[in-house]
Amino acid sequence: MNFIRFIKGSIKIIFRGSVIYYAWVTFLLLLIIWGGFGYSGQLSEGLIKSNMRDSVSWAFYIGNFTFLVGVAAAAIMLVIPAYVYNWKPIKEIVIFGELLAVCAVIMSISFIIVDIGNPLRFWHMLPLVGTMNFPSSMLSWDFFVLITYLLINLIVVIHLLYCIFYKKEYNKSIVLPLVFLSIPMAVSIHTVTAFLYNALPGRPFWNSALLAPRFLASAFCSGPAILLILFQILRKMTKFKIKDEAIFRIAELMVYAMFIYIFFTIAELFKEFYSGTENILYWKYLLFGIGDNKEIIVYSWSSIIMGCIAFVLFLIPGTRKNFATLNIGIVLIYASVYVEKGICLIIPGFTPDVLGQIYVYTPSLTEIRTAVMIFSLGFLLFTFLSKIAIAIIFDNYDIDALNQKKTHKLKLKNY
């Protein structure tokens, strides 16, 4: 009963907001409709509306999935220092990190659903009702860890908000073990996602032990970038208080992640180019194109250039501690990792294909519209959840406030 009132109270908050809030929600809804019509075309005619074909059988959708798993995993970036070391300036914002993780996992699962040929048959994968190929298939592992991670984060964040709402002390014996569990889980969702590609010896581009470490490093660049933007918006628009020091500390952690990522990538490039085996073809296609097929190098080099500029901006203390340059760096690193995971990771794995043939892939309009639909849905969900969290944490929206309004209304009625 108490929980139902908490949910009802939360839903009420969603409908209350400023003009800017309503404009933002309407904007997202329009994008969802525009993308939704693109996706409905794919639903009726099949994945032929995408530019994927037998040669390049996975592409933009699975790339987005991979990127979003990284964003979800990066939530631990904030959980580790905040919970384990009781790091004061960050503790309040952990809830937002977990909300982001929840939304990112939901979006990543959505990208899998739009990518499969028969989404209605998804239940074949469930244990007991279907025939899940566990533990043999890495995809069944991935599904398992993603669902577990989603549940852990949902339980923790709902419990915390619920307790603040009812002005209770949160249950440490539930929350702390779950948070400690969520740390290895966050590492494992991205590791298992990397293993999904890594464990295919027929695709030499992915068959490198450095793939999983590179995944984790790049996730620690892109995940916190979203949160840094969010915190600045919240600081301006609400009572949300966060010290500059905390923001700069997160930015500092991101520099380490970027450095590790660059180091791993250089190690990978050295091994490939110095050995010069036939497997170098995939890297050549990614960086220089093969023959006249140069369509992909726009993506790879824009990702590299954006990433390098962001690294320099984050590295130099002067530009890291200046909000104008910091924000440019945030946008650049986010875009860089998005293009890297969305296109540059997947496409060279399939080009040239296993029989040496080249099929040039770039995303079709249907794929872009479907991606816009899922991203807008995710942003909408994140907006709603953040709004609820802000009201409960910062605007003293609790059970008393809810009751007062009710009694207030009752009094009005009695009059």
């Binding site: 994945l47 032929i48 059988s57 899998i112 298939s137 027929g202 399939f350």
Partner: protein
């Protein structure tokens, strides 16, 4: 058995919820039954027979022709193997089109289970410099040889290992098959296959009605639907009846040999014994049962 029944009843109760979803796509009770159909591999003989009967009726109503769908299981003591003579193949692609016809592959969008690669004699077997779209007036072209590639029927198939729903498996006679009603279309098997042997129905498959082969096997050449993966089955509908695969029969130069690896007197065994054979990408440890050799 009991476990399966409870699973089925659980699914029936779930069906109300799923029905609403199906209703949106305009489906009836029959498609609901089809939607709830379990993995073919775990069904009983009777359940399989019912499914086959329904399928034959469905095809008859739709195409006004008699169909025969078989679910004949593997015969004990048989392990199928294939041998292809690289020195004879002229690259005419007759096998490609015989396969398309026999196995009801979609004409538009086009699906070919057999890919013939043209390779330069000076380079030897080199995929990176091969060409699948060669199109001269006459084959064979001077300076080139041809390597037809289809499912290599691995003893250690990576596609089966990665499938998240067990929709594809290796039969006791060594043929890897797909349950088209169970495949969710995730295409993980296509990413895993080192031979490009798996093909996806990106759109609704199309075959002119008069060209449909009505002699079918449930795990082989029956009609596929949009959004599922398909592959070469060594013509399971033919070889389990004692016939040769269509590609073996059509080959004008006799480059294709087929037989039982467990029968020491079979032609394949003769080749293994008396010719030197090679397998593609042996470093991946997929252990194909598809051997290439040089007969001349």
């Amino acid at each position: 058995m009991k476990k399966r029944n409870s699973r089925r009843s659980f699914l029936k109760t779930l069906s109300l919820a799923t029905f609403s979803a199906l209703a949106l796509s305009g489906c009836n009770m029959k498609s609901l039954d089809e939607f709830l159909q379990l993995n073919f591999k775990i069904l009983s003989k009777k359940e399989k027979d019912d499914i086959i009967k329904n399928l034959e009726t469905k095809y008859k109503e739709k195409y006004r022709k008699e169909f025969h769908v078989s679910a004949k299981p593997a015969i004990e003591g048989i392990l199928f193997g294939y041998a292809l003579d690289l020195s004879r193949c002229v690259g005419c692609r007759r096998c490609v089109y015989a396969c398309v016809k026999e196995n009801n592959q979609s004409r538009e969008p086009q699906i070919h289970w057999i890919q013939v690669l043209q390779m330069e004699k000076e380079r030897g077997i080199d995929f990176a410099h091969s060409d699948v779209h060669y199109n001269p007036e006459k084959v064979p072209e001077k300076g080139y040889f041809y390597v037809p590639i289809q499912c290599q029927q691995c003893k250690n198939p990576p596609c089966v290992k990665v499938c998240p729903v067990k929709a594809t498996w290796q039969e006791p006679d060594g043929i890897t098959v797909v349950d088209y009603n169970w495949c969710i279309g995730c295409r993980y098997c296509m990413a895993a296959c080192p031979y490009g042997a798996r093909h996806f129905n990106w759109g609704e498959p199309n075959i002119p009605v008069e060209e449909i082969n009505t002699e079918m096997h449930y795990l082989g050449n029956r009609l596929r639907m949009k959004g599922v993966v398909e592959k070469c089955t060594f013509c399971v509908q033919r070889v389990r009846e004692g016939k040769y695969p269509a590609c073996v029969e059509i080959c004008p130069v006799g480059a294709r040999k087929f037989g039982n690896l467990l029968d020491l007197n079979s032609e394949v065994r003769y080749i293994l014994e008396n010719k030197r054979v090679l397998i593609l990408k042996q470093e991946l440890n997929t252990q194909p049962k598809f051997y290439y050799f040089f007969g001349i």
